[in-house]
């Protein structure tokens, strides 16, 4: 009877182990093969600029990123890469008030609970230029944002897919290309 029970427990652990291994394999497949959305993302994140040198577009891009408050972390001109990041405070008064109210209510109810609120955000951006044709340069930028709450836990850690963010960046880059071309 006892050995039967031990066998059952072992079986549960083996199944759990197999499940974890299967999940990890799926993660690798999802992470390292192209998804159906990758083409759509590429179109969203890329614009082609005519009649410009790669070095000029990189200079214009670095200037826009600085305009947007990013710090340049790494550059490799020979590969057309700019890596940058921006930290900012995303604390909202409404969230803080709600958090404090809920904490007070939980104390009064006899179950003190910490109610965290979003506090800091880090935006990572990698911009890559690629010569596509004679005097044509493709610029691709990817934004990624991470948010930490007041307890220091990560609450958001994902790529940015909102089209308006990319449209706004490329609109600013078009203006910057003009300014760089005219040495302004």
């Amino acid at each position: 009877m006892r050995s039967h029970r031990i066998f059952k427990i072992c079986l549960i652990f083996i199944c759990l182990g197999a499940f974890v291994v299967a999940c990890e394999t799926n993660i690798y497949k999802e992470a390292l093969t192209l998804s159906p959305e990758s083409l759509k993302d590429r179109q969203l994140q890329t614009r082609i600029f005519d009649s410009i040198e790669e070095s000029e577009i990189l200079t214009a891009s670095a200037a826009v990123l600085q305009d947007l408050g990013f710090s340049i972390d790494e550059t490799e001109v020979k590969c057309g890469v700019i890596v940058c990041s921006r930290d900012r405070d995303v604390t909202e008064t409404v969230e803080v008030v709600l958090s404090i109210t809920l904490e007070i209510l939980s104390i009064l109810a006899g179950h003190p609970t910490s109610v965290p609120y979003d506090q800091t955000q880090k935006v990572l951006a990698s911009l890559v230029t690629t010569p596509v044709d004679n005097q044509k340069i493709a610029v691709r930028i990817t934004f990624h944002h991470m948010v930490w709450d007041s307890d220091g836990n990560i609450t958001k850690n994902e790529q940015v897919h909102e089209p308006q963010i990319y449209q706004e960046f490329f609109s600013k880059l078009s203006k910057s290309v003009f300014l760089v071309a005219h040495e302004i």
Partner: protein
Amino acid sequence: MKKQFTTLFNLFLVITLVSCAGKQQNILETSEPQVKLRSMQSRVFDITDQNRLLRTIIATFQDLGFVIDDAEESLGTVSGTKRSGYSLRMTVSIRPRGTRQMIVRSNIQFNLQTIEEPEPYQYFFSTLSKALFLEAQPIK
């Protein structure tokens, strides 16, 4: 009594030192033999243009949703991280093999664990092959 405390203190000191030494050994620890690991993480491509290869690796990283952390043409390395509820960090390095081929080597870290199974590398090289329109050949 004092002697007992001194013994106990010495015992804890030895345990602490032994555990620290163990952590330092972990710095260079791998579960797979070096040759097997290199073979699993490397592929040969019939390409000579180092810049084109590096740019294609960077484009593949972006297609896969990685954020580029670093790229260095003279060393031939690109690093990137994919964060999607997990953290998958990759470093890819390239070097010439003879006059007609390049060796591409990648290593993957999933959260805090170095990946030493062949499948994730096969997935990456398959994606890179498609981007390069070239076949990834195993290293011999």
